[in-house]
Symmetry: D2
Subunit: 290 residues, 4 copies
């Protein structure tokens, strides 16, 4: 089942300092352009000195043809309020690259939801530091590029990856259990456009073998956190979190299986929201209009 796409549907995303008149100006602009607002969400953090966030979904006759015109004209309003903003066309499908290592559960969940039409995205490219998942990826008709990474070749490997990302016109990256830390320079180039998934526990178990530690303390919930990658390792803005219930009968292997299943669920939701421009980032947190 595919979600039907609407012709001429646009999404406008705005972040700026809160100040009187923003909504009125945006609405007046859209009204004047002949737009029909389908869905609009706003959120502001604090009436005094706070931040303002807005997501408007609207239909505009001949939007595809008029995209640049609308974008250009809106930039005047944006400048007036010192907005961080972007205009997106629902028709333009985003292009996603997936980075993997050897574990396939997150990769396969994304591929399945993509093929079933649940994730409205193009996946032209998978990059891996191992050859293990080549066959499965290629069976979906997706290019698989093997880029090994060692301490010595890391810079070169990232450079190769970047070339591929640009060649394939990639909009954003999903680290689907990619067991390498990206360099600050790489992260910077794709700010708020790299989604990572990692296991999460209540409370956290620091250091190696977290599942073993979780087992030893008899945790009752196993969780996962999907977040944007920043240079503060695993500390970027959270997009989605989920938990699964476990019990003392789960051994370390069972806990890992539960971990895989909860990672799949949290990551797939985060990717879906990113694709549909439902996520705004401010400082280290997300505003999600879903």
């Amino acid at each position: 089942m595919k979600r039907t796409k609407t012709l001429n549907r646009a999404r406008l995303l705005i972040s700026c300092s809160d100040q009187p008149g923003i909504v009125a100006s945006v609405s007046a602009f859209l009204h004047e352009k002949g737009a029909n607002i389908v869905q609009s969400d706003q959120y502001s953090t604090d009436p005094e000195g706070g931040m303002f966030f807005m997501r408007v979904e609207f239909d505009l006759p001949a939007f595809t043809e008029r995209f640049h015109e609308v974008e250009e004209e809106f930039s005047a309003i944006a400048a007036q309020f010192a907005m961080t903003w972007r205009l997106e066309s629902e028709r333009k499908t985003k292009r996603m690259a997936i980075f993997v290592s050897k574990e396939d559960h997150c990769l396969l969940e994304l591929l399945w939801r993509w093929r079933s039409g649940e994730l409205d995205v193009d996946i032209p490219l998978v990059i891996s530091n191992h050859e293990d998942l080549r066959d499965i990826v290629e069976s979906y008709g997706i290019s698989f590029h093997y880029i090994p990474v060692t301490k010595e070749t890391k810079q070169e490997a990232e450079s190769d990856a970047k070339t591929l990302l640009y060649d394939y016109h990639i909009d954003f990256i999903v680290l689907a259990r990619y067991m390498q830390i990206l360099s600050p320079a790489f992260v910077q180039d794709f700010e708020h456009r790299i989604i990572n998934i990692h296991h999460s526990f209540l409370p956290a178990f620091i250091g190696a073998n977290p599942y073993k530690k979780a087992f030893e303390r008899g945790v009752k919930l196993i969780g996962a956190t999907a977040h944007y990658v920043t240079n503060d390792l695993d500390e970027g803005p959270i997009i989605e979190q989920e938990v699964l219930r476990v019990n003392h009968r789960y051994d370390t292997a069972d806990l890992k299986i539960a971990g895989r299943n909860v990672e799949k669920i949290a990551l797939a939701r985060a990717v879906d929201w990113h694709i549909n421009d439902k996520v705004l980032v401010h400082e280290n947190k997300t505003i999600i209009f879903n």
Copy 2:
């Protein structure tokens, strides 16, 4: 812990046929009045011929004094778009009556959340068709009125209840396990202002003794649904639903206890959202901006 109330904070709730210019007009109006929009949510069902829903929370200097002025001036815009609408002041605490029979779990949950400051509401009045809960209600300093109901006295009982509701200036009613069916005339008088809670199962178990039937089929989830009362019994617009996990070790009594606990949680959330004007009703469904 009390949530802090903001002086001069207003909420405007709007439903109407979707049409161009609504948001622009509302925004321009609020901008002109000097309002600072704190939070705004919109939702429209369908770009062509659909419905439009909006909730705007804003701060307006001297709003309390200017309430009627704002209300009157906005009515011109409302008329233009044939809106169903209302303006609310956060400062004006809603007045809630609770109807109970003999079971106390929902009543006590509401009383506790009220006294703890979690529910920002006044509770001047509890009405019951039994005397059982008088002491506990009065210990909270709340008036308890015993109105017995029989088939013969039902009309008179409802008439007595209405008198009390008007005398106490009640804004809305919560049926906290009130085991009487209200007459269509009574329901009509408090349209979308009576909240009910009842158990819910997946799938439903029709008829008497649902917990026994649920036990006999070994259900794994016990649920509850909070909804506005309409004259279609237990079929009114859903506000909130919740489930709790159970297993084969739960006997019928245990399932009932689980049912009580999930009813408390779902009802308390529904009441909180109603109090904060986060619920809009259209036909038989709710739009909840939370």
Copy 3:
């Protein structure tokens, strides 16, 4: 990640009228045989005149070779207590057939969990009344058999299916969105060995188009129920249930997607428990030792 199988591990499942001495007899028998009990669960419904259920997992030296000896010797104890019982070897992987129509989400979830090693089962056979899913099934190296069903050919179709099920030595069947009702005779042949999945709502929406009805009433939870098939349509013993949270922004198509996702999760858990002999059935309910 595969769960490691233990050599010589056995599972004994017992249901009978509750009576003194059952556990003592079973334990003494296993002790005498040299078994090491790994996990044992018992449950009895009611001390007076109730039912007793037991699942024992144990290791026994050379169990594979001694399976029939153990089975035969235990049958004397079983007779003494009029037990319904079975002995299973963990080493003997169960053989599962999947019945599908056109929808692939449940099928693919099972195939993925099977290939990833999460589901310890063999899947030699998929039967469908449509050709649509042939390619995907065959790409997993699984036989796909197309058996069309019409009112006239239903009996013949079931007969053909049975032949295949016997030829392939199938232990149990999963109806992964198979949109045909099986005949009482067929169901009887596979009593408590056919697992079905269907959507579930709180409360239930009877009749056609349940998602449309759920949308119209603004449900907040979408659920699914996995159960054994009996001749009382969709009313058999519940194995697992799950829900996902939705909101007013979900249109009917979105609710269906949520429904698919929750069906996958509930079905996969039910199949896992069935495979591992964790489910006992008594009358119309399950006892699940998980």
Copy 4:
């Protein structure tokens, strides 16, 4: 609604090194005594060199009168297998002391569930280092003792508390948001008999103001962990965990309210299981037969 207590119902809890013959010996003993096993759960961690855990619930004619006889006779079997064990009578209601500071949400949840009959426990005593909650506690007919704690008086305060605990024949203690760290000596005296509740996040936010940090990172789930107190602060065996979903609209105060609500739920379940002897502790984890 009270859960009905059964006359002559006993619970036997056993932990020991796994070895052949344990279950057979226990079963034979109970059979010989004329016991009727109502529910029995066993769990063993590892067939080779692992631990064995068992909880048996059984009815025994005239158990109350024969308690010491049964206990004494069983001690021979216990010695044979070097068991850690205890025998409990359902009829003997446990006596719980609650320690609080100023926050009342956990206290009130326990009091409500106690008065409603959900928690089958006696609560003769509340101890607090503040006077704030005296009135509410005394309104339930429960003794309230104010024991202030400073760095200088800590030892004396604990000594006073212990005297009260012994005078009131307290079986176990619940720290219902008691903001003091107990001394190792005190904890030792009540090993596995002190239950604490604290907030938990995914991932953890270390240090002061965790809710502020959770807000700043935009967490989507707020959790709580109920655990037995050990001298490794907040690192004792986990009994229960729960989470509630939140979103970016929750400010720090809203997150704290969510935290309170999830703490109430997790703590009440943990206390219920402790009361019903459903929790066994081994090293730093719990085995929960529920």
